[in-house]
């Protein structure tokens, strides 16, 4: 079926199967491979993207249901410069190891920067609790988010 939406500021229209989830749509149909498909049942958070300004699990959304929606992926977020400082903090703190969770982690961390500017370390952990990282033990990720929040205050 036909679906048209705005992805990273660009209008796109495609024919999709109803069973196509948003992440496969982005990766396979649009070639935006920054968003990762991890568990594909809503547990790991690697597929976190923004739909109409709010973070969602890309693997738990039908592309077909998003006619008219605005989607932002890690590519769009990076190009806009919105999280350049956060990404620099991820590098400085060595908050990415294998990197598989990183795009989803940055999308969720950006949500903290946007909506929870006064978040404590405990609140950062709570907000990131739906994004799994099997490498870092999270400490460096929380450090990077806390550094960025602090620097922006």
């Amino acid at each position: 079926m036909k679906v048209s939406m705005t992805v990273n500021g660009e209008r796109v229209a495609r024919d999709v199967e109803p069973r196509r989830h948003l992440i496969d749509f982005l990766r396979l149909d649009l070639g935006l491979s920054g968003s990762h498909a991890g568990c594909e049942h809503g547990v790991c958070g690697a597929c976190t993207v923004r739909v109409d300004g709010e973070i969602v699990r890309g693997c738990l959304v039908l592309a077909a249901s998003l006619d008219g929606a605005e989607v932002t992926t890690i590519e769009g977020l990076t190009d806009s410069g919105e999280v350049a400082d956060l990404q620099a903090a991820f590098v400085a703190r060595n908050a990415a190891q294998c990197g598989y969770c990183t795009p989803g982690m940055v999308m969720t961390a950006a949500d903290i920067l946007q909506h929870h500017k006064q978040a404590t370390r405990a609140e950062i952990r709570e907000h990131l609790s739906g994004n799994y990282c099997r490498c870092t033990g999270y400490q460096a990720i929380v450090d990077a988010v806390a550094d960025t929040l602090e620097a922006r205050r």
């Binding site: 079926m1 809503g42 969602v56 738990l60 249901s65 969720t108 709570e126």
Partner: protein, 290 residues
């Protein structure tokens, strides 16, 4: 795993949704937030032939005061429930429950109607609406009917919904100044389904407990209203002895199954602990400190 093949239809109005349900019968499932349904498809726990997207039906949206009730549209997302001022003022238990439900990205999509229709025995919202003596507004081509929350949950993942019917809204009696409520749970990790939880609502009238409703989740086939523990509290001055009496009475109320978390006795223990945690917040000293 990828979803199995299915067809997709978007209903713009309730009438369209009822028409599609009538036409496709058991092979069709309603798609609201999709945060449970779509995960079950990935596991092949269900393989509907058709998903009917109801998320653009305006009649299922909105939160408004109507007489003595707060009407919460079925499509209200968890995140909206958590930040809505009317909910915070008139049904604070629901607002308090939101941070316990899954994770932010899921709360941005998942809906109250979807959570109630799915009726997971470990979910927070079913227990909350039973504790609050809410009603569900169920709509079908034949019109609307109201079902009390305590009668809605009929078994493990089973509800009073009939074929062709959907949840239109939840109506919660507004909280009075005497009303107290709390939700507490124990989960292994933040955002996981609870190993055991308690949604508690009661009134404090001159220090005495009135109309207590202790509703446990994650300990049975659905929300469990603990009748004996409630009876042990009703009419008493709320103090340590009253809380201990409620804890003791729980033994008769709960018959938890073993699950991956542990044996029944562990769940009974957790239920007793949660009972004290929830009720202690209503003790005069705790309220004075708050």
């Amino acid at each position: 795993m990828k979803w199995p093949e299915f067809s997709y239809a978007r209903a713009a109005t309730l009438e369209e949704a009822f028409g599609l349900l009538a036409q496709h019968g058991e092979g069709a499932r309603l798609l609201a937030g999709g945060q449970t349904l779509l995960a079950t498809l990935a596991f092949r726990l269900s393989e509907p032939r058709l998903l009917i997207d109801i998320t653009r039906i305006a009649a299922l949206r909105g939160i408004a005061l109507q007489g003595g009730s707060l009407r919460i549209g079925a499509l209200t997302r968890h995140a909206e429930l958590g930040r809505n001022r009317l909910v915070a003022q008139h049904a604070p238990l629901l607002a308090e429950a939101v941070p316990l439900i899954a994770h932010p990205a899921i709360r941005n999509r998942g809906t109250i109607g979807g959570s109630l229709a799915y009726a997971d025995p470990a979910a927070e919202l079913p227990a909350c609406i039973v504790a609050l003596e809410a009603s569900l507004v169920l709509a079908s081509a034949a019109g609307e009917r109201r079902v009390a929350a305590r009668d809605f949950f009929t078994g493990l993942f089973e509800t009073a919904l009939r074929p062709g019917e959907l949840i239109a809204a939840v109506e919660v009696p507004v909280a009075t100044s005497a009303a107290r409520s709390a939700i507490v749970e124990v989960a292994r990790r933040s955002g996981d389904y609870a190993m055991a939880g308690l949604a508690a609502a009661l009134r404090l009238e001159g220090g005495r407990v009135a109309a207590p409703r202790l509703v446990y989740f994650g300990v049975g086939s659905g929300p469990v209203l603990a009748a004996r523990a409630c009876a042990a509290l009703d009419g008493r001055v709320l103090d340590d002895a009253a809380i201990a009496a409620a804890q003791a009475a729980l033994a008769e109320d709960l018959d938890p199954p073993s699950d991956l978390h542990g044996p029944p006795e562990m769940k009974r223990h957790l239920a007793r602990v949660l009972t004290r945690r929830a009720l202690s917040g209503f003790l005069p000293a705790a309220e004075a400190a708050a």
